[in-house]
């Protein structure tokens, strides 16, 4: 439903682009300014200098490589395990019938709205008891649980669009059930698996609160927690902070642009179409 463009819409559009885009613009330009320009009491919209010293400063800061490494490890473990588990569960939901399926699906959907800031209290006590605080494994396990409901639900959506006849044909041709799943269904699920993996990656990469509580020691921080620690009692190094922020955002921006369409429809479509 595209009507002719109106002047009012176009002018408002320009304002919207400027206002929404400015913070990102400000982050990137600040990250390339020299110290004197960053700490100017009269900042200018257009940058006056160009330097990469903020990036060098950020990378050489204590804990950068450690937190980058921790983030990567946690994220990779989380993606691998949650995808592995979710594939099985989504096949069960999309392809089989069983008592309790209804409640399983409903609880998957409802569990996602539990406020994390409420659950963190008992969760912390539980992990302390299991001696899993301050371990990569404990954090990854928690991430897997929080990401699973959405991953299962999204994969189910992909599966629902794969005609069941294909597996049936494989069964008729003498495949066992497991073979039918592995050699016929799984390859067809590949695009869905990739999209879901990227989604899980973004979630785990961005997460702050759980990592903040679970990973207490300095060498165990993840990138977001490390970023939040830039402000010390002596102040904030704004230039390096903006450089580090840009670096943190880049992988997400790249991945996100790849799967944005699927997420947009995934979140609302399930709810609308039912």
């Amino acid at each position: 439903m595209h009507k002719k463009s109106s002047i009012y819409a176009n002018i408002s559009g320009v304002f919207a682009i400027v206002f929404m885009g400015f913070p990102v613009y400000w982050m990137v330009t600040t990250s390339f300014k020299n110290r004197q320009d960053v700490l100017s009491t009269e900042p200018t919209i257009l940058p006056r200098s160009f330097t990469i010293e903020n990036y060098q400063n950020a990378f050489s800061r204590e804990g950068f490589y450690a937190s980058l490494r921790n983030s990567l490890i946690v994220v990779l473990i989380t993606v691998a395990i949650s995808l592995f588990i979710a594939t099985f569960a989504s096949v069960a939901i999309a392809r089989t019938k069983f008592t309790g399926k209804r409640s399983f699906i409903s609880s998957l959907l409802i569990v996602q709205m539990l406020p994390l800031s409420a659950l963190i209290i008992p969760l912390f006590l539980l992990l302390t008891r299991l001696q899993l605080t301050n371990t990569i494994g404990g954090l990854a396990l928690t991430y897997v649980a929080f990401i699973l409901p959405f991953t299962i639900w999204t994969l189910r959506g992909f599966l629902a669009n794969i005609p069941i006849d294909i597996e049936e044909a494989a069964l008729v041709d003498g495949c066992t059930r497991v073979q039918a799943y592995r050699h016929v269904l799984l390859p067809l699920m590949a695009p869905g698996l990739v999209a879901t993996a990227i989604f899980a990656f973004i979630q785990a990469w961005n997460e702050f609160l759980l990592a903040y509580i679970i990973m207490q020691s300095q060498e165990n921080l993840t990138l977001p927690v490390w970023l939040a620690g830039f402000t010390t009692r002596t102040g904030t190094d704004w230039g390096p902070l903006m450089a580090a922020s840009t670096v943190t955002a880049i992988p997400v921006v790249i991945f996100f642009s790849l799967i944005q369409k699927r997420i947009a429809t995934g979140v609302t479509a399930g709810a609308v179409k039912g």
């Binding site: 009507k3 400000w26 009491t41 089989t96 008992p122 649980a145 902070l241």
Partner: protein, 305 residues
Amino acid sequence: MTSATKLRIEPKSNFWPYLLIAPALTVILLILGFPVFRLITLSFQQFGLAEIVSGIPTWIGFENYLALLKDPEFWIVLRRTFIFTFAMVAASIVIGAWLAHLMARMNSILRWLLNTTLILVWAIPALVGISIWKWMFSFEFSIITSTINRLGFDFAQRNWFTNTFSGFSIIGGVVVWGAVPFITISIYAALTQVPKELLEAAAIDGANSRQIFRSVILPILLPIYVILISLSIIWDFQVFTQIWVLLDNRPASEYYTMAIYAFEKSFGLSEYGMGAAIALLMIISLLGVTWFYIKKMVQIGDSNA
């Protein structure tokens, strides 16, 4: 799910599906299910550092709740949380919807630019967004303060967070800025799905644009709005990180919302039982507000079973 009903590959024994969901169910029950149960029991206990060490909780019945309900601070925090949530949800839905409807009437190059900007903002990790806003409103070198001054006002260097109104506006600003892209893009996607023939038919029948909006477009958009509003309430009600990090990991009590309050009681004062009671009241208020959404989710579960 019509395809599932004509299923011929249904296994004879019924253990298959359970085997398939077992790993997922185990992890979810351990990390999400058990904590919910533990949150409830915890809220009836006195549980502090001593109890963590000994592992033996003291049951105190409704004492945590009674203490809370008698504490004026609790009511202030609850009210603040509701007002703040309402303001953020209203702002993000109104701005998001407004932009989506504008997008439908925009020049195609501008529309592409706006869409790209929105996706970029959507992709920015929360912590990065918070850092940027913190920088934009920093004490000494704020681009916002200096721009306001350049427009002829006389704002001294200021700490935007000494005043809670401007402080909450900035916190809300980060949240809304991050939430608008998803809302706009979802509504715009729904708008483009309104069948053209329907609009033409309505126009031929003599409906004016207001009538067309009310009786053709709105009914199609309504479900999307309900979902987006419910999701926004769920997300905005539990805002934690924005407040926490913008206020340098130690927000003053004027900035407490339910999430921060529960967190401070638990991890700041080690009164985990009290924190659990607050968290549980938070969940209950959230359930009350989003009851419709939950019912819808149960329906979806049913129709997909």
